[in-house]
């Protein structure tokens, strides 16, 4: 495989997955936490499980670690059935959300903890610990106890400890949740860098869609124990397969209506009387004549004072609110039929020279391929 080939083993029929879920379910009493999941994760992937709390993403990860047993179905790692294999017998390590650093051990002893249980020679252990300290740049803090470290340093110790045994699979449970925003962004790139250097397969659980988009090669969006969509970050964002996914990842405008035309990749939606139909891409599982919803991202909706007659999708409205975010502004435009549509515009001029303001009559427009027509139902959250 040359370097120019994009990393996409999921499109390769011959690729052998590292992890395979076959019809896996998990029940707690009457509660179905995981509902009949099929999933393949390939070696060297950075795979994100994304969803709101209680969607089952943590349960899925804990099944990989061996802390939970599947109620039904089969999980294989490296072609071995994992049923009944305890956590300490798996070539899988986990970085815990709370970091779970041993408070009575210093950084070095925390890193060596797993190695000491693997019959490694003392000198080898020292070398490996040194290597790990270098990887996360904590050489200076080797003798400190966890309570003498900052949150960011603890996070790095936890990561190094989980990587020390060179696992085939590293599980990360909300690894950056406890860090502040700036540190989190830096650490995201560090994580990707370390993942690339070590060549380990990473599975990350997060509820932060930005984090998932940044780090992951593929994202699985979960809801109520089901996998709703598994795709690359750009496809999840640009081609969501349901209103749920569209709403969970990023901001979205939803216009409800009925499919009036469907031909290949093109679809049209009849949405309000006296307006022309909206043109968009055809999403999965829509039928002509059935109810559907048109989803378009605010940054793909252009705002103008003059009517943009060159575009098929154009609607008139009145600016109701403006959210100024510094680098961009979001205009909330009320349409004549009552719909509220968001348009995000880059602030390429100083705010004092802004031409549009509250209560102005404006036109919103977008290209024929900017939005997607999706089956209705499943509220965006």
């Amino acid at each position: 495989m040359s370097n120019n080939t994009p990393f996409a083993p999921w499109n390769d029929e011959a690729a052998v997955p590292l992890i395979q879920f076959d019809g896996v379910s998990k029940k707690y009493g009457d509660f179905l936490a995981i509902d009949n999941i099929d999933l393949k994760i390939y070696p060297r992937e950075f795979f994100a499980l994304l969803g709101p709390s209680g969607c089952g993403k943590t349960t899925l990860m804990r099944m990989l670690a061996g802390f939970e047993e599947a109620s039904a179905g089969k999980i294989t790692i490296d072609n071995k059935d994992m049923a009944g294999i305890p956590p300490n017998k798996r070539a899988v390590n986990m970085m815990f959300q709370s970091y779970a650093l041993f408070p009575h051990l210093n950084v070095v002893d925390n890193l060596a903890f797993g190695l000491k249980r693997s019959r490694m020679a003392k000198s080898e252990i020292d070398g490996r610990v040194e290597e790990m300290l270098r990887l996360v740049q904590l050489q200076k803090f080797a003798k400190r106890k966890p309570h003498q470290l900052s949150g960011g340093q603890r996070q790095r110790v936890a990561l190094a400890r989980a990587l020390a045994k060179a696992p085939k699979l590293l599980l990360l449970d909300e690894p950056l949740g406890a860090l502040d925003k700036k540190l989190r962004e830096e650490t995201q790139f560090e994580l990707m860098d370390i993942q690339e250097k070590t060549g380990t397969t990473f599975v990350i659980v997060t509820h932060d869609q930005e984090e998932a988009m940044t780090v992951a090669s593929r994202i699985a969006v979960m809801d109520h124990g089901k996998l709703v969509q598994i795709d690359t970050p750009d496809r999840v964002y640009e081609n969501p397969n349901s209103i749920y996914v569209a709403g969970f990842i990023g901001d979205v405008n939803i216009i409800e209506g009925r499919v009036s035309h469907l031909a290949g990749e093109e679809a049209q939606l009849c949405w309000a009387e006296g307006t022309s139909d909206i043109r968009g891409m055809a999403g999965p599982k829509i039928q002509k004549g059935e109810e559907a919803a048109f989803a378009v991202r605010p940054e793909k909706v252009a705002l103008s004072v003059q009517e943009p007659i060159e575009r098929n999708n154009r609607v008139a409205g009145r600016v109701e609110d403006i959210a100024y975010l510094g680098n961009m502004s979001t205009y909330y435009v009320r349409l004549e039929n009552g719909n509220l549509i968001k348009s995000q515009v880059a602030n390429d001029r100083r705010i004092s020279r802004r031409s549009v303001t509250w209560n102005d009559q404006v036109w919103l427009s977008w290209s024929d391929t900017a939005g997607i027509v999706l089956p209705s139902g499943g509220n965006p959250s």
Binding site: F67, P87, M94, A100, G114, R117, H147
Partner: protein, 298 residues
Amino acid sequence: MTLSKRLLIFVPYAWLLALFLVPFFIVVKIALSDYAISIPPYTPTFDLSAGWAGFVDFLSKLDLENFVFLAEDDLYWKTFLSSLQIAVIATLLTLLVGFPFAYAIAQAPSEWRPSLVLLVILPFWTSFLIRVYALIGILSNEGFLNQFLMWTGLISEPLAILNTDIAVYIGIVYAYLPFMVLPIYATLDKLDGSLLEAAQDLGCTRFQAFWSVTIHLAKPGVIAGCFLVFIPTLGEFVIPSLLGGARTLMIGKVLWEEFFSNRDWPVASAVAVILLLILIVPIVLFQRSEQRLREQNQ
């Protein structure tokens, strides 16, 4: 230091001075006196009216005679050794019983824990003396325990438990169990469950994880609990005198007999002073370990 701060510190010091140091010096003084048939039963007594000369005379009459006597009569150091032995064994037994208790409470569903802790403290609502008396009813030859064992057919003759060292151990373990359970529970309760999972994830079996994480992190609680049981047990009087036999030698019992049966206050005071000196060692060790823990938690 401001005046208000000095005042604030003065209050506890004054308290300790009045209620600990002054009585202690009185006991030391009696220990250095001689036995006398009088009221109080020792001499010399302190007479303010004689002035400075009286005070010098008073000091000259004090001597270490009683301590020499304690050293020469082997009953006393045997009693100290025997007390030490009973206290050590009883502390270990209390730990063996108390740790599973504390662990079980810490593992219980969180809504149950306050009630379970309350159950541990519940015996304190009755008098200590009455609870020890109740043990007599259980342990005696005709007691509930023997009746039960004979009813089940496990034994045909009643077991002689009361008035033996075994009864003393049972009494101490029963009476001091809360002092062991509570500090251990306090450390186990704070234990983050993900630490155990992390240990397993890194290659430990369940037992190894329990050993290297739970036991290790419970150490401060175990140490605190052991001291809290050991220190009062060493001087325990009620339990050996009510449950123990004639051959159970404990310093508290000897102390009581010297004071009230022999009315030899000077010797009794000397015994008390030595007991205190012996106890200073574990108390200082206990303070040190508490101090270390506080520093670690900062």
